[in-house]
């Protein structure tokens, strides 16, 4: 199942208004590393259904969002809880790292 893509408006609503526990991957279509990481999240999101939201932001379509978090590279996975940024993972991360980070920041 593909990740739900956020734009500037839906990002505000989901992350800050709804204050959902979630992760957001910042990615771009031409990034080969992203193509490795996105499928990992697509598989993982099934395990976390109803507990943790999994979202996708395209940095070319929504440049302001990556600037807001001073991101200088993709892919990066940002973790949010209670409407606040908690942590991030950068680069070619595997399933175990994502699971550990979720446990550490979102389910703590």
């Amino acid at each position: 199942m593909s990740l739900e893509q956020l734009n500037a408006n839906s990002f505000e609503k989901i992350i800050y208004d709804n204050a959902e526990s979630c992760l957001v991957i910042f990615s771009r279509k031409s990034c080969h590393v992203c193509k490795e990481v996105v499928p990992v999240l697509e598989e993982l999101q099934l395990q976390y259904r109803d507990r943790v939201g999994f979202y996708y932001v395209d940095v070319e379509e929504d440049k302001n969002l990556s600037q807001r978090f001073s991101l200088k590279g993709v892919p990066q996975i940002l973790f949010f809880k209670d409407g606040e940024y908690q942590a991030k993972l950068a680069g070619a991360v595997d399933e175990d790292k994502v699971i550990d980070k979720i446990a550490e920041v979102l389910e703590s």
């Binding site: 031409s30 990034c31 080969h32 200088k72 590279g73 892919p75």
Partner: protein, 184 residues
């Protein structure tokens, strides 16, 4: 006996693994390629290939799609999974994966390829994604108007450096060996 038995299992889905798979499939061997990430391996990172016979100009990922299509046409099977242990001690080789599968094969080809070597310098890990990058096509745009240093001396370092010049104010290449490893 494992979950599934194959004549040939290839660990790794880069150009070497895919080429082996084409031969296996063509020889009517029941062939499986186990690959951790996207099929194609490190070649996927190359924007432009101009010296592969039969192709004038093609991107690394398109060339690898053609390799995979070729293997598919001979009935090769693929699994996106990671090999965690092998046992080659007896005639039937056993391969266990992260997803909990156990495969048996008469022959195994290990073609697991390579990954870029890190510098292991202070801050490298902490600043990944905040100034340290490993992929020009992914990240060069984030360095618009800035000074960038590329470390490395192979063709890849030179090519990625050239790509970054489209965005950065200045690109400096730090060559790791006296003569560099580049063919340029």
């Amino acid at each position: 006996m494992g979950d599934v038995t194959y004549d040939l299992i290839i660990i790794g889905g880069g150009p070497a693994g895919l080429t082996a798979a084409i031969y296996g499939g063509r020889a009517k061997l029941r062939t499986l390629v186990i690959n951790k990430g996207t099929v194609g391996g490190l070649v996927n990172t190359t924007r432009e290939i101009v010296n592969y016979p039969g192709y004038g100009q093609i991107s690394g990922s398109d060339l690898m799609k053609d390799f995979k299509k070729h293997a598919d046409s001979f009935g090769v099977e693929f699994s996106r999974d990671e090999v965690v242990s092998v046992n080659f001690a007896q005639e039937d080789k056993i391969i266990c994966t992260k997803k909990g599968k156990e495969y048996t094969a008469k022959a195994v080809i290990v073609a697991c390829g390579s990954e870029p070597r890190l510098l292991n310098i202070p801050g490298e890990k902490r600043l990944q994604g905040s100034g340290v990058a490993y992929c020009a096509t992914c990240d060069a745009e984030f360095f618009e108007g800035e000074d960038v240093v590329v470390v490395g001396s192979g063709d890849q370092a030179i090519e990625e450096g050239m790509y970054i010049t489209k965005f950065a104010r200045k690109v400096t290449v730090i060559v790791l060996h006296d003569e560099g490893g580049s063919r340029l």
